[in-house]
Symmetry: C2
Subunit: 232 residues, 2 copies
DNA sequence: TGCGACGCGTATGTATACGCTATTGATATT
DNA sequence: AATATCAATAGCGTATACATACGCGTCGCA
């Protein structure tokens, strides 16, 4: 029954604790494990076919990320994500992202951000856009975030941002962003990238602030809609 | 040989993993475990008289905090703390603390910050000040941080600040702050508290910025001194 | 003499065993 | 009927056992 460390496949196999961590993370982010769900060790260890040891490690890591909470010394649950939590997330995100763009404006690769800005400029989202076009846009955002991270050159800041983003995945799932908002966000992203390509820290900060204000506004607007629909 | 969960003493006893975590944390912060020190599981498990299981948990927690790094899949070491790391820490700290005081200015208990400001005003540090007087000042700073945390009402922000502060303990030990700096910092703290007592977010941000600029400047100045002395 | 391969030791990853505590349910008492 | 107490059970924290992989040293070959 023992599989060993990277037992059968030599290359791509990761530790059981890592695999369990990623799976649980995904399940929490996708909402398959709803907030408040009790995470019993034995139960989920059996579900993944591993022993309690690697499962505990995964749970502790999720606890450190804040996605899982120890409500009592004996029971750990999926963290809640109330309105106040989302407000709080946007607050820290603002502080961290604005700090990030300031640093990136000073240190980043100007050419790369100019290229990304041009790509944002070429994005044309319309009601007729297919899913693949949306996926390409999301990939571009991902690439932008990546470029920002490497431009910042601040491990601590990046690790905090990573945590915030992990939580925001849940938020996005709760409040699906509509097309109008996506269209709007293209220009906002473009402006930030453009500012970074010109080392214009001030513009980058203000553009980021505007971007987050709009994102926050839309998020809560969508949350209101969802709540209204669920009541109906 | 089994001790059980909170086996002998009912009240103040904590889990072995917690005890080990706190002890290791303290040892890293005090410099007893220097950066780069290899943290073998068996070795330290025997040192603390516990099994590898709770020790692993402590190590993972320290890894999540960033105080310990897995340099290879088989070896974990105490994280380095180079000049760039300290720069990075002050960068994030600035973003987080400035965000914190803005929120605290809006939400905090005005009376409490007024009281703390008055206490800062009464602090008189001179070359003749005893260690107890310094301890009282540090306790007051601790109280101020505590008040700030509870005023912020943002778990995420607080948890990030907590991590930053954990790292800065190491920095302070590396670069012992001198008395002149301490005297200077009293007024800075007073001003921030005063700003918060008047809900003056702008002033609080600027005062915090100044405070951190001075703290950073002094830190690197002291680090230069230490380095010069160690070379002599 | 230098480089490579093989084998052993050690430390990590995982599984399992064990003791205790907390929670829950039932029963008895007020 | 409600509450308190006790007992049983389930689940967590810790210890121990085991399997594997990586590192190191030695030996052999070029």
């Amino acid at each position: 029954m023992y599989n060993g460390p990277m037992g059968d496949e030599g290359q791509g196999r990761l530790k059981a604790s890592e695999r369990v961590y990623r799976t649980l993370l995904s399940e929490i982010q996708l909402g398959r494990l709803a907030p408040g769900t009790v995470l019993g060790e034995v139960e989920h260890a059996e579900r993944f076919g591993v022993s309690r040891t690697p499962l505990r490690e995964a749970l502790r890591k999720l606890t450190a990320d804040g996605l899982v909470t120890q409500v009592s010394p004996r029971v750990t649950v999926v963290s809640a994500l109330e309105r106040e939590d989302i407000e709080a997330l946007f607050e820290v995100r603002g502080a961290l992202e604005e700090c990030a763009v300031v640093l990136a404006a000073a240190r980043g690769d100007v050419e790369e951000f100019a290229a990304i800005a041009r790509e944002f400029e070429q994005v044309r989202l319309t009601p007729e856009s297919g899913d693949d076009e949306l996926e390409k846009y999301f990939a571009l955002i991902e690439r932008f975030d990546q470029a920002l991270d490497s431009a910042v050159t601040n491990e601590y800041l990046i690790s905090f941002l990573r945590v915030v983003r992990m939580h925001l995945v849940r938020v996005r799932r709760m409040a699906k962003t509509n097309l109008e908002r996506l269209v709007e966000s293209v220009g906002e992203h473009r402006l930030i990238a453009e500012a970074l390509s010109k080392r214009d820290a001030d513009l980058a900060v203000h553009a980021t602030h505007v971007h987050l204000y709009n994102a926050r506004k839309n998020t809560f607007s969508m949350l209101e809609n969802e709540r209204a629909e669920s009541l109906a």
